[in-house]
């Protein structure tokens, strides 16, 4: 039965794929930063039909202690798939595939993080694939890097990634599940767009050298595009906070003068400060794209206050 399905046209001669995309089209991607309350940083990614949650805890004390490193933090990544994320129920225990992906995702995230700032500690990155539809490891690494940024960990860059593959002899980007299973090759890739360094590269299936190099050349602009979406998602998250804070402050100010007694002045002051800070940040963000580390560090300070604000 599977063999008959295989005959469905994956890509037509004019380069249209089974879901209507062109060769170099990636599926629709939506990032949502800061979706989990308890985590220090979190991100939900909707990439086509992939739904993946990444949560970051830390930097925090590392146990067991013998794993602590005197000069840097450990980046510990765990990639897991929910039992219901795939057509046939996955056994809940982590399988070998998940453990391999956990390892390479950790290795892909590490170059992006200033790990020497947190000696003897750990930055735990937990990735849960809620629904899988091809290319989940690239989606996971994108989401994880946003979650780390959301946790306020200084980073030198975000990690943006995408997969390429071969369909009927043509190099295409971002295979979905159908294409991944029926296609001839899969090449997951992740990249630090600012420093132009490749942090994740795997391949299976058959590529000629020419196809392989072509795929690499196609992946770079795609990754940059995803990078922009990641930046927008981060900016969006923090401009949203700024707006909310301003709103709340405005509300408090007006009744405070007319009806209410004095709110504690100290608290108000701190809020004002926070307000000032936040006002500056979005502008700074746009101007200083490169110093994402510092920028994000700044945000960390604002986010807990924002949470307090909500309550």
């Amino acid at each position: 039965m599977a063999k008959e399905k295989e005959k469905t046209v994956l890509i037509t001669k004019d380069g249209t794929r089974h879901d209507g995309r062109k060769k170099e089209d990636i599926r629709e991607i939506k990032f949502e930063v800061g979706v989990l309350d308890r985590a220090d940083g979190s991100c939900l990614i909707n990439w086509g039909r992939n739904k993946i949650l990444a949560a970051v805890y830390g930097p925090r004390e590392l146990h067991p202690k013998h794993m602590q490193m005197p000069d840097k933090a450990l980046i510990r990544c765990e990639y897991r798939m929910a039992t219901f994320s795939v057509p046939e129920r996955k056994r809940p225990a982590p399988n070998r595939r998940e453990r391999e992906i956990s390892k390479i995702l950790g290795e892909a995230l590490k170059p992006a993080v200033f790990d020497y700032l947190y000696p003897r500690s750990v930055i735990d990155v937990f990735i849960e694939v809620i629904q899988a539809d091809g290319g989940s490891r690239c989606a996971a690494v994108c989401a994880a890097s946003l979650a780390i940024a959301d946790a306020g960990v200084p980073m030198k860059d975000l990690v943006a990634g995408c997969a390429a593959g071969i369909l009927d002899g043509q190099v295409v980007l971002d295979l979905d599940d159908v294409e991944d299973k029926e296609g001839d090759g899969d090449l997951p890739f992740a990249y630090l767009p600012h420093t132009e360094e490749v942090v994740l590269l795997q391949s299976d299936g058959i590529f000629s050298q020419k196809e392989y190099k072509e795929a690499l050349d196609m992946l770079i602009p795609a990754s940059k595009k995803i990078y922009q979406m990641q930046r927008d998602a981060l900016t969006n998250r923090y401009s949203r906070i700024t707006e909310k804070v301003i709103e709340t402050l405005d509300k408090e100010k007006t009744p405070a003068k007319s009806k209410e007694k004095k709110t504690e002045p100290a608290k108000k002051d701190s809020k004002k400060k926070a307000d000032d800070k936040k006002d500056k940040e979005p502008a700074a963000e746009k101007a200083e794209k490169k110093k994402s580390g510092k920028r994000i560090l700044g945000k960390k300070k604002t986010s807990p206050k924002e949470k307090a604000e909500k309550k």
Binding site: H66, R96, I104, S203, I206, Y212, D217
Partner: protein, 283 residues
Amino acid sequence: MADTNLISLVEKQHIVSLLDHGKRTDGRAFDEFRKISIIPGYVAKAEGSAIVKIGRTKVIAGVKAQLGTPFPDTPDSGVVTTTVELVPIASPIFESGPPRAKAIELARVADRAIRESKCVNKESLVLISGKKVWILFIDIYVLDHDGNLFDACELAAISAIMNARIPETKIVTDEEGNEDVELLETTTPLKLDYTPISCTFGKIGKHIIVDPVLKEEGIEDARITFAFRDDDKICATQKGENGTFTVDELKKCIDIASERTKEIRSQLDKITDAKAYPWSEET
């Protein structure tokens, strides 16, 4: 801590300064493999086996063939699985117990090169469609760890497959029309379509070297493995460790890997010697 390969600072500086002068600790060129030798058929009880030595790294691979049922979604295909064990005899940094991430990665990359290259003709392993197929287990044990286990394991796997002979079979039908498989005394080699060979690079600072030894691995920032088929097509890639590569570096690595794997493949006959002594100290 036990699974880390620690290199002293002095040694690290020594290796790096040599690299800066275009040299390596063992005198090889940056794009040169260590001496490779293959001893096929070391284990008579296995359907196929091989010891592969790359310098002082030694691994042994054995092929066992079992009759089994195919996966329901691929009734007309045999099954080939590859595993790697990092046994504690190979290195003070290996411990007994369930495989760690490193062993799993190694096994999965070796498996990927064998599986994705389609080197074993899986249709030829089918005896009764949907019911009886050969299941090939290619199990690799690392015996002596002096770096570059990825290439050693991959080469051991393919060498063992090339060495393997499986029993010939006869289909017998009983009175009720049920088909069954009868094993014959005679054996036949496996039907091979390709010989995948891999080439691994280590990156230390700005330098990229082929076939890193243990010490070089201990200080490498990043690692990348490419596996090539006979038709010069790439059938597996794995980037590892915490460092990064630029795209230009990767393209260069692909070119070098293509040449090196071709060389190894063309020399397979020369470096394969069933009578060689596997445990010598030669490097």
